[in-house]
């Protein structure tokens, strides 16, 4: 099984979610994060003093899928999240050793 971690623009969350559910994905976990890559931050001014804020708000989407589906899921995410501007984000793929469904105790692909 593969874990797919997506960091992308917050406003793209709905589009990515719709595209994934249309492709048959049954679940995901979302968190609000901040970070930077090549995208620059912004300046804030309080009583004449300037502050450079490097971190940009992003959204992180995590999902676990069967090995066979990984490539297609990655393509779906990329199509939905891409704008072509710096700041689109990244997708990280890692190997998942085990998955357990808490309610039933199922493991492996049937628990995904």
């Amino acid at each position: 099984m593969k874990k797919i971690e997506v960091i992308t623009r917050p406003y793209k969350l709905d589009e990515v979610k719709e595209a994934l559910t249309a492709a048959g994905i049954k679940g995901m976990t979302v968190s609000e994060v901040k970070g930077f890559g090549r995208q620059r931050g912004h300046t804030e001014v309080y009583r004449g003093a300037e502050y450079q804020v490097d971190f940009v708000p992003k959204v992180k989407i995590e999902l676990v899928v069967e090995d066979a589906l990984a490539a297609e899921v990655i393509k779906t995410i990329q199509n939905a999240a891409r704008t072509g501007e710096v700041g689109d984000g990244k997708i990280f793929v890692s190997h998942i050793e085990e998955v357990v469904r808490i309610r039933t105790g199922e493991t492996g692909n049937s628990a995904v």
């Binding site: 001014v45 309080y46 009583r47 004449g48 300037e50 804020v53």
Partner: protein, 404 residues
């Protein structure tokens, strides 16, 4: 006794009371989230503690029979002789109305100082300092200017507290900022306001309450009160615009914090002048206050003191400019109990105002330093670095402002 005056002054007292919670929100929104309750608590606790201190000893020290021009006697200790009948010299109001109106001024003044030591003071030290400050700094100042003391005899004009409230708290704030030292991480970590909508709400309450502060200082429901009300409002409006424009040019954008800070600066500056000047000069006073106080805020970076919430920049410079501006623009046409200023043919008033500025800054700064040293020895002033990092809310009050 006059029923209209009495009703008006009681309402004004309530308006000035409201300024202290307003200040709590104004300051609270500007600190980091971990210190919001600690900051708000300073103002709120002052409302409780200083009110009692005022009733027991503060009022008599301020308004008791004059001793040597410096302090009042014990005539009114524990409000002895302060009842429903008028006070000698203020025959339109019940004595209690005058006392309780003055009480609200005694409350908000030490609350202003809290901005200078925000985010790093021990609660116990703060409590002791505040009680001592009201007795040994505010009461003498109040007596000198309004209680028949030497500054009044000298001819200094201070309609609603430019010296008694603003310069005194600012000079004391400067002493506090220097004595306590900078916040941990100052200059290296960004300290940004955590809740500016709260600050704007606080500023709005201050603007509203200030009508009681300035118009009420006419001590009557009359034309002078209407004049002071108007100059107050126009100065605030002009100063808010003034600050906003200066910041727009200097930093490229007009900011919300800048606009409300400007309004407060204008309110501070007009405080000594409110019942002595006409409306157009009030607008000029406000406009310049906006620019001067913006510069005042940048001062602390130049001199290297950490006045967390700019008490010196806004109340100090604003109050000083207002005191001097009173020496320029005062006219007996508005208030025959006052004097004329330089622009009305009396340059001498400007010198009198200048003397009152120097005397206020010197007395309050030095006296505050002494009190700080005493309190530091008795119970300590600054939190340790672990408590400062945890934040005052958790370390001083075992509370968290926002359960998110």
């Amino acid at each position: 006794m006059n029923a209209a005056d009495t009703g008006f002054i009681l309402i004004c007292a309530a308006l000035v009371m409201f300024m202290t919670p307003g200040l709590a929100l104004f300051y609270g929104g500007m600190v980091r989230a971990k210190n919001v309750l600690g900051t708000v608590m300073h103002s709120m606790v002052i409302l409780g503690v200083v009110s009692i201190v005022w009733a027991v000893i503060g009022y008599t020290l301020s308004f008791g029979s004059d001793i040597g021009g410096l302090i009042g006697g014990m005539d009114f200790f524990a409000l002895n002789g302060v009842g429903l009948e008028p006070k000698e010299g203020v025959d339109n109001l019940p004595h209690l109305a005058f006392m309780v109106f003055q009480c609200m001024f005694a409350v908000i003044t030490p609350a202003l100082i809290t901005g200078a030591f925000a985010e790093r003071i021990k609660f116990t030290g703060f409590l002791l300092f505040t009680v001592l400050w009201v007795i040994f700094v505010y009461s003498p100042m109040c007596h000198w200017v309004w209680g028949g003391g030497w500054l009044a005899g000298f001819g200094a004009l201070d309609f609603a507290g430019g010296a008694v409230v603003h310069m005194s708290s600012a000079a004391s704030a400067l002493a506090c900022a220097i004595y306590l030292g900078k916040r941990s991480g100052y200059g290296k970590q960004p300290f940004m306001p955590h809740n500016l909508p709260l600050t704007v709400l606080g500023a709005a309450i201050l603007w509203f309450g200030w009508f009681g502060f300035n118009a009420g200082s006419a001590l009557a429901a009359n034309g002078l009160a209407a004049s002071a009300f108007t100059t107050t409002h126009m100065a605030a409006a002009a100063a808010a615009i003034g600050w906003m424009v200066v910041e727009w040019i200097h930093r490229g954008k007009p900011t919300t914090l800048g606009f409300v800070s400007g309004a407060v600066a204008g309110l501070v500056a007009i405080t000594p002048a409110a019942g002595f000047v006409t409306v157009m000069p009030a607008i000029v006073i406000g406009l310049l206050a906006g620019g001067i106080c913006y510069g005042g805020v940048l001062l602390k970076h130049l001199f290297g003191y950490d006045d967390s919430l700019d008490v010196v920049g806004i109340h100090g410079l604003g109050g000083t400019w207002g005191a001097l501006a009173t020496g320029l623009f005062a006219t007996t046409v508005v208030n025959e109990a006052g004097s004329n200023g330089l622009f009305y043919g009396n340059p001498g008033q400007l010198w009198i105002q200048f003397v009152s500025v120097v005397a206020t800054w010197a007395f309050c700064f030095v006296m505050t330093m002494i009190l700080l040293k005493i309190v530091d020895v008795v119970c300590g002033l600054r939190v340790n670095s672990e408590d400062e990092n945890k934040g005052l809310d958790v370390s001083q009050h075992s509370e968290v402002g926002y359960q998110l």
